[in-house]
Amino acid sequence: MQPESNLASRRLAIALGLLLAIALVVPLLGQPYYTRLVARMAIFGIAALSLDLLVGYAGLVSFGHAAFFGIGVYCAGLLPMLGVQQVWVIVPVAMLVAGLYGALSGLISLRASGLYFIFITLAFAEIVFYIAQGLRMLGGDDGFRLPAPTLLPGGASLANPVVLAYTMLGALVLAVWFARRLSESHFGQVVVAARDNETRLRAMGLSAYPYRLVLYTIASALCALAGVGFANLVEYASPASMSWIVSGEFLFMVILGSAATIIGPVLGAVVFVGLEQILSALTEHWLFWLGIILVLRVLLLRQGLYGLLTGRGQR
C-alpha cells in the first residue's frame, strides 16, 4: 500500500466501521422492513464479492453468475421437502452443488477468453435457468413457495428477519475475511498475475488454467451461500432468481463499487439495494432510471464508489 493512501484507507476504515455499526443496530429497532433491507444488502454483498473474485482479481467477466445464486436458492427450497432444514446441511449442499456446476462448466468456459467467455458463461446460466423452468412439479416458470425456512443450530429460524440479518452479516464478514486472505495468498497472486500478463506467467512455467478453475469453483460456491440467504429472505424459489438480468445486476454491483477491491463490490451491493428501494418508492418505472444510472456510471463515474471514497483513481 502506498504511503499517500494512508489517509484514504483510514477514511475508508471509518466509513466501513460506521456502515457495519448501522447494519448491526438497525435489526434491534424492531422495524421488519429495515431489518430485511439489511439482510438483503448483506446477501447481495456476498454475491457481489464472490463475483469480484472473478471479475476483479482474475479478469474473468462472467455474465452467468446468477446460476450459482439460483442453485443456492433452489437448494434452500428443495431440501426442506426432504425434511432437511438444518443450515449446516443446506449451506454445504448448496455450495457443493454450485461448486460442482462451477467446476464442470468452468472446465469448458475457461478454455474461452474475452467475448467468448462472457457469452459462454451466459449460456451455462441459461441451461440452469431452463432446467429450473422446465421442472413443472416445482412450479416451472412461477417457482414455488419455500415449504419451510432454514434453521440455525439451536432452532432459530432464518424466517425471522432479525436472525436472518445477523446471520447474513456474519457470513458477509467471514466472506470478506476469506476473500482478503485468498487475494493476498500465493494462489491469489498467481491469479492476478494471470490477469495482468498470462504470457509472462507461462514463461515462468505456470499455467493459469488450473488456478482459474479453482477460483471459479470457489466463487461459484460462495455465491450459492448468498442464494440460500435470498431464498429465506423472499421465502420463495423461482427461475427469476437466476435470469440473465440478475447476472447483469451482480456485475453492476461489482462495477458500481469498483472491481478488485472486495470491499468496493460490497458497497456497490449496498448502494444498489438502496437505489432499488428508493427508486421503486418514487416511481413505478424505476427500472428505467436504474438503466440510465448504469449507463451514467460507466460513462461518467470512471473510478467507482470505492475510488470516490478513497480518492483513488481506478487502476
Binding site: 467477466v61 449460456a123 432446467i131 456485475l251 462495477i255 428505467f288
Partner: protein, 299 residues
C-alpha cells in the same frame, strides 16, 4: 412423423434461423468493426416491433407503416450511437456489457412507459394472409414464407454492400484496422454511425416482421438476443459466414428439437433439453474450438 410435417418444420426452422441471422449479423458487425459488445441489440428488435404496431394504427398501407417503423428505428439508433455507444468503443468489454445492459433495461421500461404493459398485436398485411400448398395435404402460411424471403434478401443486400461497394470496403477496412482507415482520411465517426444504424436496422427488420407472429411486449427481444449471442459464438465472432451457418443450424436444431426431444425423453426432460439445446451446442463448440467454428482469432 410424416414427410409433410418434416417439411413444414424445416420451413419454420429456416424462418427462425433467418430472423436469428438478422440479429446475429448486427452483433458480429458491431463487434468486428467497432469492437463493441452490444447487449442493447435486442432492444432494437423490440423497437422495430413496437414501431410497426404503433405505425399500423395510424397508417393503413402496410408498406408505408413498414418503412415508417424502420425509419423511426434508424433515428433511435443514431441517437443511441451518439449519446451512449461512441464513448464505449474505446472502453473494455466489461464497461460495454454494463452500459449496453443498462440501455436495454431502460428501453424495456421506456416502451412500458409509452405503450403500457399490455402486449400489442399487429395484423399481417391482407395480401400476405393466404397459404401456399406445400404438398397435397399440407399448406404453409404465405406470411412466414415472405419473412424468410425478406430476411434472405436483406442478408444478400448486406453481402453486396460489404463486398461490392466503396462503403462496404471501408467497413471491412475498419474491421481490420480502424485507426489506419481514419488516417487515410475516411470519416471514421460517420462510418461507425453507419455500421451501427445498419446493424440496428437488421435487428429492427426482424422485429417488424415478427410483430404479427409473436406478442409485442417489453423484453421480447431479449431471448432472441441471447440466442443470437450463442449463434455468434458458435459461428465465430466477426465471421458473416459463421453467423449464417450457425443461425440456420440453430434455427433448425431449435425447431426440430422442440418436436423430437420431448418425444424421445418424455415431456419434462425433453422440454428442458429442447430449451437448452442451443446452449449445449454452444458449450460443445467452445469445448472443441474455443473461438467458434469460423473464428480464426481470439476476440
Amino acid at each position: 412423423m410424416t414427410g409433410g410435417l418434416v417439411l413444414e418444420q424445416a420451413f419454420n426452422g429456416l424462418q427462425f434461423g433467418m430472423i436469428l441471422f438478422l440479429m446475429a449479423v448486427g452483433v458480429t458487425l458491431a463487434f468486428g468493426v467497432m469492437n463493441l459488445i452490444n447487449l442493447a441489440h435486442g432492444s432494437m428488435l423490440m423497437l422495430g416491433a413496437y414501431f410497426i404496431a404503433a405505425a399500423a394504427t395510424k397508417i393503413t398501407a402496410y408498406p408505408l407503416a413498414f418503412v415508417a417503423a424502420l425509419m423511426l428505428t434508424a433515428v433511435a439508433s443514431v441517437l443511441l450511437e451518439v449519446l451512449v455507444m461512441r464513448p464505449l468503443y474505446r472502453m473494455g468489454h466489461l464497461d460495454q456489457v454494463l452500459a449496453t445492459f443498462g440501455v436495454s433495461i431502460a428501453v424495456n421500461e421506456a416502451v412500458i412507459m409509452i405503450w403500457g404493459r399490455e402486449a400489442m398485436f399487429v395484423a399481417p398485411p391482407e395480401w400476405l394472409d393466404g397459404t401456399v400448398a406445400l404438398t397435397d395435404t399440407i399448406s404453409y402460411p404465405l406470411y412466414r414464407l415472405a419473412i424468410t424471403g425478406v430476411a434472405a434478401l436483406a442478408g444478400l443486400a448486406l453481402w453486396l454492400l460489404l463486398a461490392r461497394t466503396r462503403l462496404g470496403m471501408r467497413i471491412r477496412a475498419g474491421a481490420e484496422n480502424g485507426d489506419i482507415v481514419g488516417a487515410l482520411g475516411v470519416n471514421v465517426r460517420l462510418l461507425f454511425i453507419g455500421v451501427f444504424v445498419i446493424s440496428s436496422l437488421l435487428a429492427a427488420l426482424g422485429g417488424v416482421m415478427l410483430g404479427p407472429l409473436i406478442a409485442v411486449q417489453s423484453g421480447m427481444g431479449d431471448p432472441l438476443l441471447i440466442l443470437a449471442l450463442a449463434v455468434v459464438v458458435i459461428g465465430g465472432v466477426g465471421s458473416l459466414k459463421g453467423a449464417l451457418v450457425a443461425s440456420l443450424a440453430v434455427g433448425l436444431l431449435d425447431t426440430f428439437g422442440r418436436m423430437i426431444w420431448p418425444h424421445l425423453m418424455g415431456n419434462i426432460i425433453g422440454n428442458i433439453v429442447a430449451n437448452a439445446s442451443v446452449y449445449i451446442l454452444m458449450a460443445l463448440v467452445i469445448a472443441v474450438r474455443p473461438s467458434g467454428l469460423f473464428g480464426n482469432h481470439a476476440a
